[in-house]
């Protein structure tokens, strides 16, 4: 009987538990704590942490893992069995084309869900929802804030440089650099394309820092501005008509796609969502994009990212480097946005911008804008910067998508 029990034990998951797995449980626990108790980006961190927990359990039928290189594990791989139905040969006897029938497909639940990331479906679809939720009015009313969104991308390129010096390959460095854009779906989109082996670490770093915006940005903002600058009151934004918003969506899509076709999926879906919102005749579609579509996809995106966090690949020195480089990217993006606002004030002293809104050039919509507003109110409680900060905030989303398109153009060939 004891032998039978021992044999049974060998069939249970307990016998397959390892130390690194338990360490990953602790990391998942920390992420859950941050999300639930501290309220840090709970919509993403909860599914990511739960996915990480699943990935580090001896599951069966949920995830198929393949070792692509020694020590490198890749999930979301399913196996297909096929049979040749017909073959067409050329005159020289070489096979020109074959008709194949799929007879069997094997894979776990998350293998199939993760195809949404591998095939680059989920991040653009989340952008559809983001577009449906975003009001570009403040940006249209004050288009010069596009420069603040552009300046905040400096952090990306400086981090690309630093990551290369840290020993990452060019593709990996580009994927890490995009953390500075503080745009989760874009970070996932790019890292899946250029460095899928780092997807888990990059996603966790990106979302963690996005949630830590209220802690990371204010000290940098205070360091780079004077008390007088923080009290600058900006002119009220003009009202933007519906037609102007519709023209904006179409114009931005055309310009961005012409400039960086590799960012088409992100930009086109962002602007489609926004067009649906502003046209006023597709209320049901907008509601779906703002709620059901983005919510369902967020669950799948989070858990699919989480299951890439297997102990074997996540507990590596590279992860610590990514976490470090991510915060550098974030800090530089914040600082360059604030400094650009100061430069703009030198160029246009009669119509100054409050430099605090420069930090909102990192995407992190709308948290970065809220941080600018709250910081401004600490020095002048009657100063309402929120709508002014939304301009650079949404400009940052467009800027990060263009930067991602640039990286893809350069490396995906």
């Amino acid at each position: 009987m004891i032998q039978n029990l021992l044999d049974f034990f060998q069939t249970t998951g307990f016998s397959q538990l390892t130390g690194p797995m338990l360490l990953m449980w602790a990391i998942a626990g920390v992420l859950l704590y941050l999300a639930i108790a501290k309220g840090f980006e709970p919509l993403l961190l909860v599914p990511i942490a739960f996915g990480a927990l699943i990935a580090n359990l001896p599951t069966r039928g949920m995830i198929t893992v393949e070792e692509t290189a020694p020590g490198q594990f890749q999930s979301a791989t399913f196996e297909m069995e096929t049979e040749v139905v017909s073959t067409h040969r050329g005159e020289d006897g070489q096979i020109e084309s074959q008709k194949i029938r799929v007879t069997k497909v094997e894979g776990g639940l998350f293998d199939f869900l993760s195809q949404g990331i591998k095939l680059e479906l989920i991040p653009p679809l989340i952008f559809l929802g983001v577009g449906a939720l975003t009001d570009f009015g403040p940006l249209i009313a004050m288009p010069r804030t596009l420069l603040l969104g552009a300046a905040a991308q400096v952090g990306l390129f400086v981090t690309f440089f630093s990551s290369s010096l840290f020993g990452f390959t060019s593709k990996q460095a580009a994927a890490i650099a995009i953390i500075g854009g503080a745009d989760g779906p874009t970070a996932i989109f790019l890292s899946n394309k250029l460095a899928p082996e780092l997807l888990g670490a990059i996603a966790v770093a990106a979302y963690s820092y996005m949630s830590l915006v209220p802690l990371i940005q204010p000290p940098i903002m205070r360091l780079l501005t004077t008390s007088k600058e923080r009290k600058i009151r900006m002119k009220s934004l003009r009202k933007v008509s519906k037609m102007e918003k519709l023209v904006f969506a179409i114009m931005v899509m055309i310009i961005c796609v012409l400039l960086v076709p590799d960012a088409t999926a992100l930009i086109a879906m962002l602007m489609l969502g926004n067009f649906l919102r502003e046209c006023g005749v597709t209320e049901r579609l907008v509601k779906s994009a703002q709620n059901e579509i983005i919510n369902v996809l967020t669950i799948f995106l989070g858990t699919s990212v989480g299951i890439t966090m297997r102990a074997e690949s996540f507990l590596a020195p590279a992860t610590m480097k990514i976490i470090f480089l991510g915060v550098i990217a974030f800090a530089i993006s914040t600082a360059s946005g604030v400094l650009m606002a100061k430069v703009m004030n030198l160029a246009s002293p009669k119509n100054p911008v409050n430099p605090l809104i420069g930090s909102a050039g990192v995407s992190a919509v709308p948290m970065a804008a809220r941080v600018s507003h709250n910081e401004g109110q600490k020095y002048d409680p009657q100063n309402y910067l929120l709508m002014h900060a939304m301009g650079p905030n949404v400009a940052g989303v467009i800027g990060t998508a263009i930067a991602a398109g640039y990286f893809i153009s350069a490396f995906s060939g």
Binding site: L146, L147, K239, V247, V252, V260, I402, F407, A410
Partner: protein
């Protein structure tokens, strides 16, 4: 996008000068794209601002002041009209009581009731 062979062939471990050139090019692309959008938005903004510009207002002197209406009521009506018309250009030329017209009262009641879940 078809980049120049030089840019598309950035090696896995590039040299310092290659890195600097690559990131400078990237910055120019991003800043250039957003600057172009800024320029186009200024153009379209100027067009739409001119299109929605208010017509020349009637001089105040021409309006007939009516002391029987409280100025606070006039301000409240003007604000309500502004909100209802969602900021579209308008001019209030006359304010007068409508005899026994229950439309606004009925609309107010409907709005009030529709804000509750009727059990």
């Amino acid at each position: 996008m078809i980049l120049s062979p030089h840019l598309s062939q950035l090696p896995a471990q590039p040299s310092l000068s290659e890195l600097l050139e690559f990131q400078a090019t990237g910055l120019v692309v991003v800043v250039g794209a957003l600057a172009l959008l800024w320029f186009l938005l200024e153009l379209t903004g100027a067009f739409f601002r001119r299109r929605t510009a208010l017509p020349a207002s009637v001089p105040v002197e021409s309006a007939v002041p009516d002391d029987s209406i409280n100025q606070g009521v006039v301000a409240a009506i003007a604000a309500a009209v502004h909100v209802t018309l969602q900021g579209r250009p308008h001019q209030i030329t006359e304010i007068r009581a409508t005899d026994a017209n229950p439309t606004w009262a009925a609309e107010g009641r409907r709005d009030h009731f529709s804000s509750h879940r009727v059990r």
